[in-house]
């Protein structure tokens, strides 16, 4: 049995950190989903990211370790240089295999893996970036019944990534930062 019923995965690349810094403080202590954040970054900025983001939220937030169990109200950051996969029992696997879209962690990899396990109980949001990572994953999430959204390219620091996704997959929602905050807050 997976100890959490729904999962939110947020994927971002260049220009995404700022949005997360705005979003995370808005979530209250009883926010009921589990959240995974997959962010492209240089490999050495490691633990810093988790520490930085942990300071922005009252929810427990950590860099994902292998075998961590997804729990309600917990936030997990994909560590640099590993892909993050989700097991059928809701535990996490780290995988140091080849880069995907020149990225490790790759957003596609986590989106797809999450879709296999969570199906229509999955929400995915793709943020700002200059990469095509995320698009294939969103496609699969959609196919398996999940909900997909992108950051409004107009508001994104780097519009390419969400824009690219929109041209390939019909997304369920295009979210400005204000809407994104209320959307995530109200997930239940």
């Amino acid at each position: 049995m997976i100890p959490v019923s729904k999962l939110l995965v947020i994927g971002g690349s260049a220009g995404s950190l700022d949005i997360l810094m705005q979003l995370l403080p808005e979530l209250e202590a009883d926010w009921p989903l589990a959240m995974i954040i997959v962010l492209h970054r240089k490999s050495d900025s490691d633990m810093l990211l988790a520490r930085l983001l942990a300071g922005k939220t009252c929810l427990p937030l950590k860099e994902a370790d292998e075998k961590d169990l997804l729990l309600p109200g917990h936030i997990y950051i994909a560590p640099s240089d590993y892909h993050l996969l989700i097991e059928p029992d809701g535990s996490l696997t780290l995988d140091a295999s080849e880069k995907v879209n020149y990225s490790r962690p790759s957003i596609d990899v986590t989106f797809m893996s999450a879709a296999e396990v969570f199906g229509d109980r999955l929400y995915c949001i793709l943020l700002s970036g200059a990469n095509i990572d995320g698009t294939e994953g969103l496609k699969e999430v959609k196919e398996l019944g999940g909900f997909i959204a992108v950051q409004d390219p107009e508001e994104a620091e780097v519009a390419f990534m969400p824009k690219h996704a929109m041209t390939v997959v019909p997304v369920d929602k295009v979210l400005g930062i204000r809407e994104m905050i209320s959307f995530v807050k109200e997930l239940s």
Binding site: E66, L85, P88, T93, L94, D95, S97, M112
Partner: protein, 276 residues
């Protein structure tokens, strides 16, 4: 190739059973998500029209099996991967081993051997290689074949040389290999003391006693039970006061052998066996 079929969980289970029953390779205690992703990749790339044909190919074609094995396991590796780890070996482990008359090291899950050649370079630089034997093992014959040759893409040398320096290397890295247009062939001085052999951590037993066991980025692909089983195998294969080194994201903490070990360089995942 968009909507090629996805393998179902049940189909993965069937394939894993075939591999076990027919060939004796047991992947059933591996991370399911990882194995599934790898199998899905093969299934899509090789464009099988149906699961049944995929299954038939695996069951009937031993050459394809070898290839599949290589695809299921993750073989990504590099020389002096995580330079700080190799620096810790230089500073905290090898000086201790230097006091022994004879050094036995086991690299389990050595893949194509980059890590093992890195170790040989360290031993050579500390003038220990002549009294060392390194056993380097992997489940895959095909990666071992590459490892034995000691030939790696020249394009990687810049990165490896950088890693080497970050690990505290003082020499010109290029002295360790002969370069041609595309490849770097590492000196036989290094490989002389390395024995590459097939060994399956799931099914095979201990084959010697060691003073240092290095098994990095292998356990992350195993489930908890299998991790525990393999860690026992390592513990049983270590001399008293022997060293155990794991990958950056792996740990002895919370395992059933944790109490037998004490951390030496916690951050670099190096432990020492303090009781039996």
């Amino acid at each position: 190739m968009d909507s090629l079929r996805h393998l179902k969980d049940e189909e993965i289970v069937i394939l894993l059973n075939d591999l076990l029953e027919q060939y004796g390779y047991d992947f059933t205690d591996y991370s399911f998500a990882s194995v599934k992703r790898r199998l899905q990749r093969v299934y899509t790339t090789d464009r099988f029209p149906s699961f049944a044909e995929f299954r038939y190919r695996v069951k009937s074609d031993p050459v394809y099996l070898t290839y599949l094995m290589e695809q299921i396991t993750v073989n990504v590796t590099e020389m002096f991967r995580d330079p700080a780890f190799f620096e810790a070996l230089r500073k905290h482990v090898l000086p201790v081993l230097a006091t022994y008359p004879f050094i036995r090291i086991w690299h389990a899950g050595c893949s194509t051997g980059e890590e093992v050649y890195s170790m040989a370079i360290l031993l050579h630089e500390m003038d220990l290689l002549h009294k060392s034997v390194i056993y380097a093992t992997d489940i895959n014959e095909s990666v071992l074949e590459k490892a034995r040759k000691g030939i790696f893409p020249l394009a990687h040398m810049q990165q490896y040389s950088q890693n080497y320096q970050q690990s505290g290397g003082q020499q010109e890295f290029s002295r360790y290999y002969a370069a041609n247009y595309e490849y770097a062939k590492f000196s036989e001085l290094l490989s002389e003391k390395i024995i590459f052999a097939a060994h399956n951590l799931v099914t095979d037993r201990s084959f010697n006693e060691f003073q240092l066991i290095v098994c990095r980025n292998v356990l992350i692909y195993f489930n908890k039970d299998l991790q525990d089983k393999v860690l026992h195998l390592f513990s049983d294969s270590l001399e008293q006061l022997g060293f155990m080194a794991l990958g950056a994201k792996e740990t002895l903490r919370f395992t059933s052998i944790a109490s037998l070990f004490k951390p030496i360089v916690q951050k670099e995942k190096i432990w020492r066996k303090i009781s039996t």
